[in-house]
Amino acid sequence: MSGDAPPQPSFRDPAGCCLLFNQRVLRFVAADAVAEFEKFLQTGCARQFVAARQLASTRRLMETEAAPLRETPELRTIFEAQPAGAIFEHERIPFPSYPHEWPPEMLRAAGRLTLGLARAALAEGYGLKDATPRNILFRGSEPVFIDALSFERRNPADPIWLPEAQFVRAFLLPLLANRRQGLSLAEIFTTHPDGLEPEEVYRLCGPLEKFTPRILSLVSIPTWLSRNSRPDNANIYKPRLLADPEKAQFILASLFNRLERHLQSLTPASGKESTWLDYMVTHSYNDPAFAAKEKFVREALREFSPARVLDAGANTGHFSVLAAEAGAEVVAVDSDAACVDAIWRRAREKNLNILPLVVNLAQPSPALGWRNAECPSFLDRATGRFDGVLMLALVHHLLVTERIPLEEILRLAYEVTNSLLVIEFVEPQDDMFRRLTRGRESLHASLNMAVFERACAAHFEIVRSLALPGTSRRMYCLKRKPGAG
């Protein structure tokens, strides 16, 4: 749902489809689902969800607004393929993100919201027909449910919540595999968009582990039952309605309690395996150097007042917080999930407009899904979307560890920002630089300040620079040269 590519409608839900067109999020709802959808939008719970900013706001387009859209050549084919009863427009969430870019705490928050909405809607006779993290985007650090069409009227006598298996696959088992087996959410969701099957997690568990209470209930028993059942037995899928709706509600409430308890207990691992979580304590700056760096960044933010900032290599988000406090909407990316978890917790605590994502700039998230069009790549979403980019203590990691040429790094920054780039140059003599080169100093022997400045000048104007006292590092405030690509 981003970028200016030809509109790609979603297609899984038979009740309608959603697409991004001219920076507007439009939803076409099939004729037989319109009345029900509108009824849901009028319910107390839907209004409450929108007021609490938990559900993206939605309005039906008047015929005068819808008619020109129906005639638009790019949309006409979509209308023909999908007999649309009505067109709705959703509020647009500034920067779409996907589960393969979230740290575990964000997946947990998305799961909590999904269960919370499903439970609250039950009181008004509605339920969710799916339970996927793809229904959630983050507005800053706050999860927002974006698929209002997922709500459908439930039969009050039905004690079964069909999406339970999907909730387990897409929320609980990835969190379990992350906590116990150390699998990252990127590893899981880039290859398993709908999460992990119990059978897949079962194979990863040790013989005794399979009998621990949580794994027994979420993984082992479903796997054994699945192995010993005939998959063509249609009776399994027949609705089982109870005579007493109160009993059905009691059973559903107990199911939601159970899922909530599982979600609550699946706290992410402590981050012991993280190399960078304690960087802000162990970094090599002396106090005056760090204070000078902070002052330099603050001044650049004050001077340029960027509305949208990308903090690349954000670590635990110290400078993302500065940017957010200066009024910017911040996307903070780092390849270390434990650091990104820490940014998310910090942003939630301080109510800051920061969207933290697990993204390695050297291997940014690829486009995924059918025809690579369901989840655009990180760079597709980021290109030209920011007014300011922070690249602090990052360039030497890309140069040395990832072997990315300096010109390429600056070219990427040029494509992502519309105006400001604050970048830190680290001389090859720096301790951290030498630690990263591991004896390959000769590869970077020609790199010095003059070379760096020449490379910057190809795309940017150097507004000012500052040597950080007592270090071999230098800060640069750069302004993008229009048409220098």
């Binding site: 839900d13 038979p14 027909k129 069909l162 999406p163």
Partner: protein
């Protein structure tokens, strides 16, 4: 009421959910029986039974304002 649920409900997971639902349904009757016994005993001794599941009273925003004004 036709459900447009299109997601894979699983196989083992659905059977397990159904089995747990049957067990919880049995607990529901136990709870009802317990509530009835407790209610009857309290009635005999002339006391009112506390509501087992406290429910937030559903009052509208207008009613809340009226109540605040009364105060």
């Amino acid at each position: 009421m036709t459900s447009l649920a299109y997601i894979d409900p699983g196989l083992g997971a659905l059977i397990w959910q159904t089995a747990v639902a049957a067990f919880v349904g049995f607990l529901f009757y136990l709870k009802k029986t317990r509530d009835w016994i407790v209610g009857t005993i309290l009635k005999i001794f002339g006391r009112e039974q506390k509501p087992v599941t406290p429910v937030t009273p559903k009052i509208s925003a207008a009613e809340v304002e009226t109540k605040n004004d009364e105060r």
